[in-house]
Symmetry: C2
Subunit: 597 residues, 2 copies
């Protein structure tokens, strides 16, 4: 049976031991990182969340204590009392490296079996095993650091918005299902068999109702749920920094949002983010970077060469332009050597994988540029093309010819892929706002217009007349905050005019009955005096992942789920008792596993 | 079509207008509380969350603006620009009463229909109507005040625990169902048909695993879910201030907890809570107050008169004692007049309603005490009884004779009922800790021992030997924080010894297979080095309700559910599409409504 702390009280955390403690008697607690038994001398590295301190047992140590120290093994939990003294062999690698604790009392609070992997950041156990034993995985310093960072971000976030007059208000988790966008997780009701709650995809409707309630400025770190087929680095549940403000224009919200990120990065990371943040319209971002979330940490912008090649002898180019598409390219400076012919083949495959019919390229290694389409071009034509693209000797060029909705995103993706291959992305934080998003997106599958943001987003005033005549040209009062090519935040000014809201619902193909059933409480609320309002939501997990320079959001969530939405430590989801189903008035019709489909 | 704020920017919130603003041009926004048209003079009370300011329109007002002001109706949303000036008729009832805004520009941002009830704290609309139009109900000043108070409590809570080294760490909402205590809400899985997640009743297991992970000090304002048959003032979802600490004893946790409430009440309410808080064992609380959550704001403590009456001529008394029960009473000082015979009959009915067979009483109005059992008592016996109880002329006595598990709680409830009738409860905040709870409770229905706290609670060291021989006598390292008779918080030191944990599970009737299936991940975690730890959870909604002096937790939750777990504004739960059920592999077997059963 393990010993207890009875009568002991921790007086120092491991990572905080310093020379100023020398001569003091302290009590430290933690896990044995390792024990080294050198005959008459035993050293123990003791670890807690603050760091590691060395415990020393030697000739002067009480024999019973020494004997006990000799039984210590990795991950035992112990408490040790002793005097802090200078270390004979200083370790400059760790902040506590100049001191050690000469132990006079030792208690073993918990024994430990050998862990299935080493508790260290060098550990290369596979992720499944680490997640199964997440409570051991979390002991690693990098994960401890990430959790602490997330706490600091949450704290700084709440402090900032509190200082700006926002109230943190709780919205319900058991809400009405309104199938829009992603799928809802459903919660069957026991008191009302046959009826269901849904878990919120976001607090969108409630935060708008809080504005109608006169709450003025709302914020919440809100848990959100989406039952999606999980792509890499999505979680079925995630946290959103959610906010909404009344009596404001888009300008006010952007100002507040950028004040927030600048304060946050300064306070938590000590990094200066110059304000105001750059802004770019959706149209500009697409044409320069082929993306509505451009990574602006490097150049390699897209150039349109359609005019130059529209009558050229290369049919792929000329017909793309003549069919209303475009021919565009990017230039990888000085990369003609690195992007070998073989690399170009790989990049062509990559482009095909994301929807292009092919990719044209130029490698200007020697005096004469080599290219995939040279035989269709005269030397003068090639010179003119390269001049137009701004390519010089030593550069490589990648080109796509297709409809714009292929050309641009494919070049956007190639730009990122090439930058990664060339390792030219600097380690900085580049924020920017993307504005003037299209309101509608044409869904080829259902042949209907769908809302690019969501149906509560206000169209730009000057676009309202286009709603009937040219929906595709309607831009929205919507804005995204992008950091290093990642969409961090999405927001908009909302519709508050009940007639306009109805009109937008109709344009999205909703009938009157459907509107009333799904959103009746919202349009009804707008009848009783709705203030102009808008807001945004920031993905907390992604934000912290970028700040921590982590590879995945799973590294910043204490107990994440894997791609098929299972949590490996507790094995959930899991079957439940028949009695539980009976109480809910439910039966199971399928038990197939859909993850492999 | 309503006007917009284009080109305008709010410069002052309504409730903040003061004499220092006189002469300044301001822009204010809000809802029209009321409009008074006095012919050539129009006054508008404009309301936002900060308060009310008067807008004035008179002979000097531009005619178009004056005309527009004449169209204003209650709850219209407007923006007004004008100069702040001194008011001729000062209103000392409100902080802005010395000034008004002479409006030069007026915009109507939203029209409003006549609300179904007046937006005022005097409104006496029934709660169902208020909840259906919750977005209007929330405009009332008292609810705005409650939401602001809750925000302040949440902020002060996080600040306190952050300052004490706690990290706010997120635990999952989609977890494994472990049917213990209350019923779980279940969430069917679409990717794993036939399997379910549960929503957490509390983050108990995860916070213990965070301690095993070396996180040391964890806190979270955690949403919790319990699918119970709703008693008054319970919600299916509620928020818990949840925390856990490593390497501590009970003493450390109590000290931290009381430091928290004292800081909170000082910061948010300006109220001093003297420390240390009083403590009382469970046994003492039951025998003195008949409750494990005694309201100590008033006396009227319970006196045991069993010895005195065990051989008396009144069979109800003597047989209760002879059968191992007791006879006990409370004295309502000076209440012989108020507690008339009719009132005593009502109190007897009340006592019967909560399990007593009857109630004995004495009313000492005249020289000779009148009582319900006088004919069985001699004058001397009565004198002795009243002396033992400490009753004097003018007092009323209520007595119960039964088994202790009836006598004590019934007298505890009568004590509260009488105090309310007599209106003798002072308006103070009385905190106390209740300690040394029994570990086990005997469940008469299932004839098994169940855990009074939960199965992870550590028994007191000296009670471990009693586990097999006398489970009923085992006390736990558990503690409740009680405020004014309400259980605010519940906590304990946890078991960390895997063998002891197994032993407790067995004592609670769980078999090895069941333990492994439900809690295997926990007992397995304890094999790898678990620090001593403990914690507590504080009901945020109840805490804020008491601080706000509100009547119900529904008054401090923005969008609460009613007793049958429905939310009236959005009408949920609700039926869902067949397609949603198909994707989940479920079908509905019952659609009956259980609320009326």
């Amino acid at each position: 049976m393990a010993e207890t702390m009875q009568g002991l009280s921790r007086t120092l955390t491991c990572g905080d031991a310093r020379e100023s403690h020398i001569g003091k008697t302290v009590t430290v607690c933690g896990w044995v990182q390792r024990q080294r038994d050198l005959g008459g001398l035993i050293f123990v590295d003791l670890r807690d969340r603050t760091g590691i301190v060395q415990l020393a047992f030697d000739d002067n140590t009480d024999r019973a204590v020494f004997e006990k120290a000799s039984t210590l093994r990795s991950e035992y939990v112990i408490a040790a009392v002793g005097e802090v003294r200078a270390r004979s062999a200083v370790n400059n690698e760790i902040p506590t490296g100049k001191v050690e604790v000469a132990v006079t009392e030792l208690r073993i609070l918990s024994l430990a079996e050998t862990p299935p992997f080493e508790i260290s950041d060098d550990c290369n156990a596979r992720e499944e095993l680490r997640l199964k034993y997440r409570y051991l995985d979390l002991r690693r310093p990098s994960l401890q650091r990430n959790l602490r960072l997330k706490h600091q971000v949450m704290k700084a976030t709440r402090d900032y918005f509190d200082a700006h007059g926002f109230l943190e208000l709780e919205t319900p988790m058991l809400i009405r299902s309104t199938p829009e966008g992603a799928r809802d997780f459903l919660v069957p009701s026991r008191l009302h068999n046959g009826e269901f709650y849904a878990l919120p995809q976001s607090p969108q409707l409630y935060k708008q109702l809080l504005m109608v309630s006169g709450c003025d400025r709302y914020m919440q770190l809100a848990r959100c749920f989406r039952d999606e087929d999980l792509r890499a680095d999505r979680q079925p549940e995630f946290t959103q920094i959610d906010l909404e403000m009344s009596f404001v224009s888009m300008e006010d919200i952007l100002e507040l949002g950028e004040g927030y990120v600048s304060t946050l990065f300064k306070e938590v990371l000590g990094v200066d983010i110059p304000l105001p943040l750059p802004r770019m319209t959706y149209a500009e971002a697409m044409s320069r970077f082929g993306s509505d979330k451009p990574d602006t940490r490097f150049g390699m912008e897209i150039t349109d060469v359609s005019d130059l090649v529209k009558d050229c002898g290369f049919g792929v180019f000329s017909s793309a332009v003549q069919n209303g598409g475009s021919v565009r390219g990017i230039v990888a400076k000085g990369a003609a050597g690195t992007l070998s012919r073989k690399e170009m083949d790989k990049l062509t495959e990559f482009a095909r994988g994301i929807g292009a019919k092919g990719m044209a390229w130029v490698r200007w290694v020697e005096d004469k540029p080599a290219s995939s389409f040279g035989k269709f071009f005269s030397a003068e034509e090639m010179d003119a093309l390269l001049a137009c693209l701004g390519a010089e000797k030593g550069d490589a060029v990648l080109m796509i010819a297709d409809k714009n909705r292929v050309t641009l995103p494919v070049l956007g993706a190639l730009r990122l892929e090439v930058a990664r291959k060339l390792d030219i992305i600097p380690d900085t934080y580049n924020f920017l706002w993307i504005t003037e998003f299209p309101f509608f997106e044409w869904d080829e599958e259902t042949e209907t217009w769908v809302a690019m943001h969501h149906p509560f987003t206000a169209p730009m005033d000057e676009c309202i007349p286009l709603l009937d005549s040219d929906p595709g040209a309607v831009r929205a009062k919507a804005y995204d905050l992008v950091l290093n090519g990642v969409e961090l935040s999405s927001g908009s000014i909302r519709i508050t005019d009940p007639e306009l809201q109805d009109k937008m619902f109709h344009a999205l193909g909703l009938g009157d009955e459907e509107i009333k059933q799904k959103f009746g409480f919202l349009t009804s609320a707008f009848q009783y005096g709705a203030p102009p309002h808008g807001g945004l939501g920031i993905g907390l997990d992604r934000l912290v992942m970028l700040m921590a320079k982590a590879d995945s959001i799973r590294e910043v969530i204490p107990f994440p789920k894997v791609q098929n939405a299972r949590e490996l430590m507790t094995s959930c989801p899991s079957p439940v008792d028949q009695q539980q189903l009976d109480e809910l008035g439910l039966c199971i019709t399928h038990t197939e596993q859909k993850e492999e489909q």
